[in-house]
Amino acid sequence: MNEMSAIEKTVLNDYKYGFVTNIEADEAPKGLTEDIVRFISSKKNEPEWMLEWRLKAYRHWLKMEEPKWANIKYPPINYQDIIYYSAPKQKIKPKSLDEIDPELRRTFEKLGISLDEQKRLTGVAVDAVIDSVSIGTTFKEQLAELGIIFCSMSEAIQEHPELIKKFLGTVVPITDNYFSALNAAVFSDGSFCYIPKGVRCPMELSTYFRINAENTGQFERTLIVAEEGSYVSYLEGCTAPMRDKNQLHAAVVELIAAENAEIKYSTVQNWYPGDKDGKGGIYNFVTKRGICQGNNSKISWTQVETGSAVTWKYPSVILKGDNSTGEFYSIAVTNHHQQADTGTKMMHIGKNTKSRIVSKGISAGVSNNSYRGLVHVNKKAENARNFSQCDSLLLGDKCGAHTFPYIEVKNNSAIVEHEATTSKIGEDQIFYCNQRGIDTETAVALIINGFAREVMNQLPMEFAVEAQKLLAVSLEGSVG
């Protein structure tokens, strides 16, 4: 038992993103009212139509009820005890990346994100978001030469109102669900990407989200539009300091793929999961949805979910265009008291649409890990194909693994297959590795990486290495 707690200690220490940056913040008072919505909108100097949009969402939200159907338990959230706007105070508004407050720059460097374009070896453009605002976006100029818009959402509202008006809220309407309505009312920043017709984005675009301030909620909104024949690969990473109090994160991501366009969206979610007794951690309620609007379009979601105390998240694809493809690759790891209820929805509407779901859940400690998915084949969706594979791996006998796949088929030309298995890491596998000189921790990491490989292969190289380390760290001490 002593040995166990020593290992657990290292696990805790291993949330290496748990530090706090000391920087003065510009904050809204606690609580949510129409005035706060107005406050946020005016802070961001938004046009009237944007404020109206927010207020509509807020008024709708007031009438909604928090959903209760997911397989997660948490104490009631007091929405009046949250700060809805917090921005690090910077003396001058940075005009270029060089003017960013050095303290913030250091924060991101500590997280392994360099905002210094020259120093970056790989071609990844980054939008860095801290608490409620974006503090800088790299490689903007180079991308602009190709007509690609990659900037913070606030900037997009100012600079590209016609695009925002046209696309914002078209995939996830403000009335969609409780958390998306809340987000629409109070979202403070996020990223906007627009890939014009025929352009293949030459580098990975990424947003790095960081919660820093205490008692704040983070509500970012991301919108990616890929016009006809374009391609983009987008990455998202998130961390937060270790705090005793739970913090709310309710994001919305909308993807729109026109004819022959492809969007690949990868997430490594590592919000602070809380300590081993379940104290603290982020409540992660996220609505992510993409629409394959045009024929032959493709949207692919890949997620590695290791963080958060509670995760509620179902990245979905509406397969509207004929011959369009939706993919969902997921690894969700829960340890200690974490709870995850995650999965996807594949809505087959167009003809010859295809979807593929690969979900790998790993549960350890006293955690609960649920896969919840819907495959819906519309009456007119001729020749729809879906294949789903949901595997669960249990480590220890106090955790739970659950699968809730909903399959609705209204067209007889569909072929829908679903497979699920549950297993554990066997003593015999561990011993075999031990006998070859591999210690138990390494053996577990090897087996888990093997279990997760199909999903890992979907991640861009640079992310995959990071994600693999993350998996090992998240599960350290849970076997043997």
């Binding site: 590795c433 006998q435 070859r436 000189g437 090897l446 990486n449 093997g450 490989r453």
Partner: protein, 252 residues
Amino acid sequence: MLSIQNLHAGIEEKKILKGINLEIKAGEVHAIMGPNGSGKSTLASVLAGRKEYEVLEGSVTLDGKNLLELSPEERAGEGLFLAFQYPIEIPGLTTTNFIKTAVNEVRKYRGEEPLDAVAFLKMMKEKMALMEIDQRLLSRSLNEGFSGGEKKRNEIFQMAMLQPKLAILDETDSGLDIDAIRIVANGVNKLRNKDNAVLVVTHYQRLLDYIVPDFVHVLYNGRIVKSGPKELALELEERGYDFIKNELKEAV
């Protein structure tokens, strides 16, 4: 090299090994034979450190080092290798990655630098040629979907890569046809030298036609009841294990 003295061991209250004594020197091949249930596989498992088995009495040393105090991976680091009777499948983990991890962990244990990708590949190519093993096998998930023969060849390939002092082959011949046995035995023979030793655990004499032992021991009811030169194996094959049992009865 290996010294086993008065080894008693069992599983879940059941005593299986009841006083084993065995000395193996570098360069030697020993065979342990015995009827089903005599304790052959238990001995192999206890030497490798399978934790379900409890050692009740006695000592085991490898070059003077007390093995019983060490974890299975430390024993592997000391140079003990067990070729499993039933090699384990690990879906998703490639054989190459597995072996690379093992080789470098063992090197780390011995205080050696890990092999870089180039050096590892070079070593693997050499051993692949030596063991006549197909590249394709190595890029597949560890033992998953391998035939019986492929699994056993993979075991011997790992032995080649890890270069143990003492290799224990636990019923490596079980379930193999004669051609597969020949290939596996060839592999083992190529790896033999004056500095290492092999302990072959088997029920049948057949494998010993190809891996010729210096000594044959008969394990019966948890004890080595008879030891002799390689001809003993032939005698056992001809007369069956009953003759040992009868001899024992007469002795009583």
